[in-house]
């Protein structure tokens, strides 16, 4: 009886609202958010509604923050479940079936990850995520080879920059390369920055904030010429753009599962075998993961990562087409109704799922506060404790006032056209409202050049 009740409830829950709708609709949140938050709607949905930024909305906000994280693909979830419930063995147990099947699953996942990036499975070291991999790559390589100098860029992810700062305190020297106004590295400046004691070049493949894709093959070639190990943070790149470790000539590469519809808490580091790159071990212990990172591997997480890589590889072309279409729809939709909208970062060398926009004369944080039914992120770090605008946008040379006005829209595999349309509608409405309230917009309309005004700096 008990099990019957549970199973009916589960079945009802799984079939109720969705029926025969496609996978994409199944995960979409647009339908919920699209119902307006008028008083009557709120009342009839009283049970389902949630408070968001001070206003009651009738469903969860629609999610356009795919650079922060992505939902787990149901197919990934299906692959993971057995390793939590039945096949729960410790993959390092050598004496029984439970251990063997777990180890087997991990090795299959290792092949799936390796295949996505054109590597050998023996070159994949599983880690907790890209942050750990970046830390390990930057510090591990430098500690092992005892060279003095690292080259990186000003627009790297915080975890690379912070690792570099840590090395600086230990006495290493770091060159933080500036980027061009489109966010790309100047290859001549990279060449000039190389010194005889340069021990590592670390440049990310796809930027997390602005989505620009660096010229990886060229950077790899320069590193090869000078025989310098090349590390890249590919957390935002794998599964989204074609990645080939040989074409890019990377020595170490960081990866993450939860950016490609896999679970959080797992990632990997690619470590080249020929020529062999060596790193100081991250965690000492039982010698798992080639002695680099000891500790029991989380089987289900790794299986999920592998499945996510497998799906991403098979569907990359399809995803790209879909996401590119939505990106164009979003940009055109906004530009049709608003002027003064600037795309931050190169439009040509860019991953389509990232659209970082500046809305002139509107402050980013206030725009975020108004977008109650859209989950997006501000390029500016205003929402955190600091009031500084984004360091990435400043590195691009974006005017400080424009750097305060940016919003990052992240589009993914499960984003729907309805969600994009709703996001356009809400964004346009909010920007218009805030511009009506903006003294800068008023001045510009009166023909005053706000750059010529003597502002009282605070």
């Amino acid at each position: 009886m008990a099990s019957k009740v549970i199973s009916t409830t589960i079945r009802r829950a799984l079939t109720k609202p969705h029926g025969a709708v496609s996978r994409r609709h199944h995960l979409s949140t647009a339908a919920a958010a699209a119902t307006t938050s008028t008083a009557t709607a709120v009342d009839s949905y009283a049970d389902e509604s949630i408070m968001m930024k001070g206003v009651r909305i009738s469903g969860r906000p629609l999610y356009l923050d795919m650079q922060a994280t992505t939902p787990v693909d149901p197919r990934v979830y299906d692959a993971m479940a057995p390793y939590l419930l039945q096949n729960y063995g410790n993959p390092h147990s050598r004496t029984h079936l439970y251990g063997w099947e777990a180890e087997n699953a991990i090795e299959i996942a290792r092949i799936q990850v390796a295949k996505l990036i054109g590597a050998s499975p023996k070159e994949i070291i599983f880690m907790s995520g890209a942050t750990e991999a970046n830390n390990h790559a930057v510090k591990g390589v430098m500690h092992f080879y005892k060279k003095k100098h690292v080259i990186t860029t000003q627009t790297e992810h915080k975890c690379v920059l912070d690792s570099c700062r840590h090395l600086q305190q230990e006495g290493f020297e770091i060159t933080y390369l500036p980027v061009k106004t489109d966010g790309l590295v100047d290859l001549d400046m990279l060449r000039e920055a190389i010194r005889p004691d340069t021990g590592l070049v670390s440049i990310m493949a796809v930027n997390n904030e602005i989505g620009v894709v660096q010229p990886m093959e060229e950077i790899g070639r320069i590193c090869k010429e000078h025989k310098i190990p090349f590390h890249t943070d590919a957390a935002q790149a794998i599964g989204k753009i074609p990645v080939d470790v040989d074409k890019w000539n990377v020595s170490v590469m960081s990866m993450s599962a939860h950016k490609i519809y896999g679970p959080k808490g797992v990632g990997a580091l690619y470590e080249r075998r020929r020529p062999k790159i060596r790193l100081e071990p991250l965690i000492n212990g039982g010698g798992q993961e080639r002695g680099q990172r000891s500790g029991t591997l989380p089987t289900h997480q790794i299986v999920g990562f592998g499945a996510a890589c497998d799906i991403a590889m098979k569907e990359m072309e399809y995803d790209e087409k879909w996401i590119k279409g939505l990106q164009e729809r979003l940009l055109n939709g906004i530009r049709e109704k608003l002027d003064g909208v600037v795309v931050n970062g190169s439009m040509e060398s860019r991953y389509a799922g990232n659209l970082n926009l500046s809305f002139a004369y509107v402050e980013g944080e206030s725009l975020l506060m108004g977008l109650k039914e859209v989950a997006v992120s501000s390029g500016s770090a205003c929402t955190s404790a600091s009031l500084e605008p984004s360091y990435v946008l400043r590195a691009l040379g974006v005017d400080e006032d424009m750097a305060h006005t940016s919003i990052r829209f992240g589009i993914g595999r499960f984003t729907t056209e309805e969600e994009i349309d709703r996001a356009i509608e809400l964004t346009v409405k909010q920007v218009e409202k805030l511009r009506e309230m903006s003294p800068l917009y008023e001045m510009v309309k009166e023909g005053i050049d706000i750059k010529n005004i003597q502002w009282s700096q605070h």
Binding site: A2, V5, I6, T9, I10, A13, D47, E48, S49, I50, M51, M52, K53, G54, V55, Y361, V362, E363, E365, S366, M369, G370, S380, C382, T383, A385, S386, L387, P389, D399, E400, D401, H404, E436, M437, S438, P439, L440, Y441, E442, I450, W455, S456, Q457, H458
Partner: protein, 167 residues
């Protein structure tokens, strides 16, 4: 029945599960900030060349905050009869200026100079990182009053000069 409830709960189907954060972002913003942000009072502009209008423009776009606050003064009584604002800035900056316009309306010009940023900050429960928004609002009030007084002085001088010329 209990079992059914438990199964539902596990699947996140109960209403409590679907509203895990009843306060939403108000963990960061006080309800007064949200109220003033969603329904800002006195948004707009007066003609800045009107002799009865004082305009205060403070802040800088590079800092992410610009506040324009205008007061309309009854030149006989010295009372502020109306106020308007326009603000480029975060939700707290918008709310601070909205509160400022409400507080100056109907007050004598000399009285509004005593409005302190700490009072605005307290009313909106601004966190430490947002205190500059309330300071900006205080500055805007002072700047508007100063602008009005300077304008008055000029027109008074002009009329005085005109009178002497006639005599």
């Amino acid at each position: 029945m209990m079992l059914k409830q438990a199964a539902k709960k596990a699947l996140g189907l109960t209403s409590r599960q679907s509203t895990p954060w009843p306060v939403g972002i108000s963990r960061f913003y006080h309800e007064n900030v949200i109220d003033h942000y969603d329904n800002p009072r006195n948004v707009g502009s007066f003609d800045k060349n009107d002799p009865n209008v004082g305009t205060g423009l403070v802040g800088a776009p590079a800092c992410g905050d610009v506040m324009k606050l205008q007061i309309k003064v009854d030149d006989k009584t010295g009372q502020i009869v109306d106020a308007r604002f326009k603000t480029f800035g975060c939700g707290s900056a918008i709310a601070s200026s909205s509160v400022a316009t409400e507080w100056v309306k109907g007050k004598a010009m000399e009285d509004v100079l005593t409005i302190k940023n700490t009072e605005i900050a307290k009313h909106l429960s601004l966190p430490p990182v947002k205190l500059h928004c309330s300071m900006l609002a205080e500055d805007a009030i002072k700047a508007a009053v100063k602008d009005y007084k300077e304008k008055r002085l000029k027109t008074n001088d002009a009329t005085a000069a005109g009178e002497t010329a006639h005599a």
